[in-house]
């Protein structure tokens, strides 16, 4: 480990920089004093304070992965229009915070000239939060950035506009570990392994420590087994939950599978408490193939959902409320998605998801 101590003490456990030092002066002044806000147009809103101060926010869509030069670009814009301040959102957007209304349009022009969209507010499709995918994760069942790029290109107008019945929150996770915790989104796309890890029996002993491989499995699905006279392991397919933990410690148990890895689509989740309780997204399509670079099957399925929603939902209804109103049978009917045995929950609490009534639209 290099010695970076050049006469100074090694710095540890200092936590983050104090946020107070990074708040624009108008925010410091009006901290906790905001009275209301209004959306002025797609991607632009104003917050009005008890002090009468007005703060304008311009929201800009971005990729999650960015270059250092991107960071310099946005810093330049912040210097020019925002006294050097800016913030990000949880959905990988940038927010420029302006105290001068007249700066809004010039800023937007420069942002757009750099190729970045303004939007993601109100009844729009928000930026898709996502995980790392093939770009940087060893258990991923799909790429993340690529699918998201393909989707946002396709549904760009919904980001820069506000013509959807209500906000639509989309999220992408590249495997069931769901680092993005996508499961409570209007539309959630999840990388799916369809098969348990392959046991490369002749290589297990050389590449892996068998006891720690067995211990890595959270559901006790990996068990010791001698194969062709060599110590190895076997995997209980019924137990395996496709987490990839065993592959993490044992490269001779690859979970990635070029033919069988793919994507599932879940719909109708939400996190906010408004009108209805928070709820998870529910399975719409169990499996679609990985078809890079544009994943047309995924695009098509999402388009089907978005268009059915746009046509069918009433103003202000989130996807979950729309489906709840029309009923799941009608959702499957109008989207044309097949309802299969996989849609019926057979996991731990599946019993709680059946229709224990005579309610049916006939």
């Amino acid at each position: 480990m290099p010695d970076v101590d050049k006469g100074t003490v090694r710095i540890t456990d200092i936590g983050p920089p104090n946020y107070e030092n990074f708040l624009p002066p108008i925010i410091k002044k009006n901290y906790g004093k905001w009275l209301y806000h209004e959306i002025l147009k797609p991607g632009v809103m104003v917050h009005v304070s008890e002090t009468k101060d007005k703060l304008y926010t311009v929201r800009v869509g971005s990729t999650r992965i960015v270059s250092s030069d991107f960071v310099r670009d946005i810093s330049n814009l912040a210097d020019k229009y925002c006294n050097g301040y800016l913030r990000f959102t949880t959905r990988n957007n940038l927010e420029f915070l302006l105290d001068k209304e007249e700066n809004i349009e010039p800023l937007i022009k420069e942002v757009q000239a750099l190729g970045f969209p303004v939007g993601g507010m109100d009844h729009s499709l928000g930026n898709i939060v996502h995980t790392q995918g093939w770009l940087h994760c060893h258990t991923s069942a799909s790429d993340a950035s690529g699918v998201v790029k393909a989707l946002m290109d396709e549904f760009y107008d919904y980001f820069v506009g506000d013509k959807l019945p209500a906000k639509v929150r989309m999220a992408f996770a590249c495997c069931l570990n769901m680092c993005g915790s996508v499961g409570a989104s209007d539309i959630a796309i999840v990388g799916m392994h369809r098969r348990p890890p392959t046991v490369m029996a002749d290589r297990v002993k050389d590449l892996c420590e068998i006891p720690s491989t067995i211990a890595a499995c959270p559901v006790d699905a990996v068990r010791p087994k001698t194969i062709n006279g060599k110590p190895s392991v076997e995997i209980d397919e019924d137990r395996c939950v496709f987490c990839g933990n065993c592959y993490t410690v044992c490269p001779a148990l690859p979970i990635a599978d070029p033919l069988n890895d793919g994507l599932a689509i879940f719909v109708g989740g939400k996190v906010a408490n408004a009108r209805t309780k928070p709820t998870f997204s529910k399975l719409a399509v169990p499996w679609l193939p990985n078809n890079p670079p544009r994943w047309p099957e995924v695009i098509e399925a999402v388009r089907t959902i978005l268009e059915a929603y746009k046509d069918g939902a009433r103003r202000g209804e989130r996807v979950s409320e729309w489906i709840e109103r029309i009923g799941w049978p009608k959702f499957f009917k109008i989207t044309g998605f097949e309802f299969t045995k996989y849609h019926i929950d057979d996991f731990r609490l599946g019993e709680a998801t059946m229709n224990y009534s005579n309610y049916a639209r006939l």
Partner: protein, 406 residues
């Protein structure tokens, strides 16, 4: 863009289209960083093969920390030597994601000098992520960030970097200072973040109101959500203004989940005793309606992703508490509660068992007893329907009607 030495026909396609292209960002970084150029080649290989080309295969980290650095090793180092080690540093974000151009430029310089010139702004938990350094560069990268004021975040079986919504910095609905408490807890629990000793990860997120823009109720083991106790403040003049724009009965009153509102003769009334603080009416008419003045927070517990026992949302552990008063006392109540929860988890939890799974396994009632909270009907959707109660109290015949605690 010229510059990458690898042929990338599949990725090139993703440089087209209206939405910003991550491939262009990769290429911009690759112009300065050969290892990031190899990253592009490796990704193109994944696009061809339909599988990732990463493995674990080694450790990464900095002295004295067990967290904050996530190792990434390519499975194809011969073809893409720059990706042999291509690690990630989780850098604790500034609360509310507020930055200055000055600090961002300095982070960019560090990222170019000591890593692959690539960032995530931000990772799912909230950290800034700097990508693309080797183990031998980790310490210097870390200390450069530290000198700039940035510490590493959490990873592994540790407290993950707490995060919060924009809160009172730019939202009229913040019922408490989300930035302040997040900053305070982060400083308090530096050790729990940096030196993993938990059964598994533990996430804390702070949302200013039940709109929960930080998704705390779905993503954090401990979710703190601002709420008020008294009446929604109504400005009837502004209600009248909204009435000119849309049908208040249809879009607001009829959508109230407890039907506690009425709009008759141009006057909006709310039975606040029946209000569950869903935020819909306030969201719909921000100029007319405001949360009450007795502000505080709810605490929900146990949210997590599907692995292993299935996904969970958080359930209400504390329906209301005066977090604004607790702030004056350095969040003693909150920290004590968190400590009790961790103690219980430490004592009874098993490896890779999230707190929500543990609570379910031992029973909510037993968990509440251990952390010294009363069972409350607000915690449940409804009481039990099955009659399989394991009574702990019963009468013993010898001692003639004397009650025994089981």
């Amino acid at each position: 863009m010229a510059g990458t030495k690898h042929k990338t026909p599949l990725l090139d396609d993703l440089k087209e289209g209206k939405w910003p292209s991550f491939v262009k960002e990769l290429e911009r970084a690759a112009q300065k960083s050969p290892r990031t150029d190899d990253l592009i080649g490796l990704l193109e290989k994944s696009y061809r093969d339909h599988i990732p080309h990463w493995k674990h295969g080694g450790m990464a980290g900095v002295k004295g920390y067990g967290a904050g650095i996530v190792g990434r090793f390519s499975d194809s180092p011969e073809d893409f030597p720059g990706t042999q080690e291509y690690h990630t540093a989780r850098i604790n974000q500034i609360e509310g994601f507020f930055y200055t151009s000055d600090v961002l430029r300095k982070l960019a310089d560090i990222c170019d000098e000591h890593a692959g010139g690539l960032f995530n702004f931000h990772g799912s938990t909230g950290d800034i992520q700097i990508l693309g350094f080797k183990q031998k560069e980790a310490e210097e990268l870390f200390q450069k960030c530290a000198q700039l004021g940035f510490d590493l975040g959490g990873s592994g079986s540790a407290l993950r970097t707490p995060s919060c919504c924009v809160g009172p910095a730019r939202c009229e609905w913040a019922n408490y200072d989300t930035l302040h408490v997040t900053d305070n807890l982060t400083r308090e629990f530096q050790n729990e973040m940096h030196r993993p000793t938990f059964n598994y990860k533990f996430k804390i997120k702070c949302a200013g109101c039940p709109n929960d823009c930080i998704a705390s109720g779905a993503r954090s083991d401990l979710s703190i959500v601002g709420v008020w106790k008294d009446n929604i403040r109504i400005d009837q003049d502004q209600v009248a203004e909204y009435a000119k724009k849309f049908d208040i009965k249809k879009y607001v009153v009829d959508k109230c989940p407890t039907h506690c509102m009425d709009y008759t003769d141009d006057k909006l009334t709310i039975d606040d005793s029946n209000c569950v603080k869903c935020m819909h009416c306030i969201n719909s008419m921000p100029k007319a309606l405001r949360p009450g003045l007795q502000k505080g927070a709810q605490i929900r517990i146990g949210a997590k992703v599907p692995m292993v026992q299935g996904p969970r949302l958080g359930f209400i552990l504390v329906p209301f508490y005066d977090i604004n008063k607790d702030k004056e006392e350095d969040y003693t109540f909150l920290k004590d509660l968190i400590q009790k929860i961790w103690d219980f988890w430490d004592e009874y939890g098993t490896s890779r068992e999230r707190i929500g799974e543990l609570i379910q396994r031992v029973g909510v009632g037993n968990f509440l007893e251990a952390i010294e909270l009363e069972p409350l009907p607000e915690m449940v959707e409804h009481p039990r329907a099955n009659p399989f109660i394991k009574f702990e109290e019963y009468l013993v015949a010898d001692e003639e009607e004397e009650s025994k605690e089981g």
